[in-house]
């Protein structure tokens, strides 16, 4: 079950720098039972190998803003899914569905991004074993319940 971060984060005040961990298995770093939806303004984009990262400012119901990191696949895999480098523009508001980092930091594994024009693309890193890893938003790790949905 996913919950809107803005509600969960009521009271949180930190604007945290997100550690840019790389990983090569979903389970090492992310929790398949903690799906999450972020709605925020893009503050930084790293269109890099081996993983891409983009950061969004998420404001909760109380007006507190937290910076979240979203980890995605490398540029090659993303471009094969229809992303282009310039798709993520600073200041744009996007919706990111993903799974939280196990260490509790403000980092998610970005499975799906919805752009301002409504277009959605799958952003997960291939081969990481995360939910939806077959390239369509189906497929599941056992025991994680439903895949991330709108």
């Amino acid at each position: 079950m996913k919950a809107r971060i803005s509600i969960l984060l009521a009271g949180a005040i930190t604007i945290s720098a997100v550690p840019a961990h790389a990983h090569h298995s979903f389970a090492a770093e992310f929790d398949g039972t903690k799906p999450v939806r972020l709605v925020g303004k893009i503050t930084q984009v790293e269109w890099t190998n081996p993983h891409s990262y983009f950061y969004v400012d998420v404001t909760d119901a109380k007006g507190v803003t937290t910076n979240w990191g979203c980890e995605g696949a490398g540029p090659g895999a993303l471009s094969r899914r229809g992303w282009k480098k310039g798709d993520l523009k600073l200041g744009d508001t996007i919706v990111v569905d993903g799974y939280r980092a196990k260490d509790g930091s403000h980092l998610i594994d970005a499975r799906r991004v919805t752009f301002p024009d409504g277009r959605t693309v799958y952003g997960g890193s291939p081969g990481d074993g995360g939910p939806g890893d077959n390239g369509t938003d189906k497929g599941n790790l056992p025991g994680t319940g439903t895949p991330a949905t709108k």
């Binding site: 298995s25 979903f26 090492a28 398949g32 081969g127 497929g139 790790l141 056992p142 025991g143």
Partner: protein, 158 residues
């Protein structure tokens, strides 16, 4: 059992559950896979260069083949075991992955070829000059194993 059922069963197995929840499991297993790859690759390279007549020209292909086959099979077993463990962490991803499917096909072909025609070439040449067939066997072997490696890399990149 259909392939999809087998893959799903692996995902739900004890091994699968351990790999899917472990923080370091995948990294450790993948490292074993890499170390075994080094040995497997070295053995394949030298055996096939001998079949091509490039190295160890006067040495017996039977001796080389026999000794290096122990290394090759030992490292292959390690790679298969570590491979199954990694597969259990991301079964459905691999099931749908064209790179994974290619890797399995090429792996089966490489192993089959190794135990049949490749072995025959090694036994026949011994200390003699490499025949056209021996050289062809070496090229096929090198190509198949290289294909397995490239497909394996592609699993994580596509």
């Amino acid at each position: 059992m259909s392939p999809l059922l087998w893959f799903t069963a692996l995902a739900h197995s004890h091994l699968g559950r351990v790999m899917q929840t472990s923080k370091w499991g995948f990294a450790i297993v993948e490292t074993v896979h890499l170390l075994a790859l080094a040995i497997l690759g070295g053995a394949v390279l030298v055996v096939d260069l001998r079949l091509l007549g490039v190295v160890l020209k006067r040495e017996s292909t039977r001796t080389i083949g026999r000794d290096l086959s122990r290394l090759l099979l030992g490292s292959l077993v390690l790679m298969i075991l570590s491979g199954i463990a990694m597969l259990s962490e991301e079964t459905l991803k691999c099931y749908y992955s064209p790179a994974f499917r290619w890797k399995m096909v090429l792996l089966a072909a490489a192993v089959l070829f190794y135990f049949t025609l490749h072995r025959r070439a090694l036994l026949n040449i011994d200390r003699g000059e490499p025949t056209l067939w021996a050289r062809a066997a070496a090229v096929i072997s090198l190509s198949l194993w290289l294909g397995v490696g490239v497909a394996g890399r592609a699993i994580g990149l596509l």
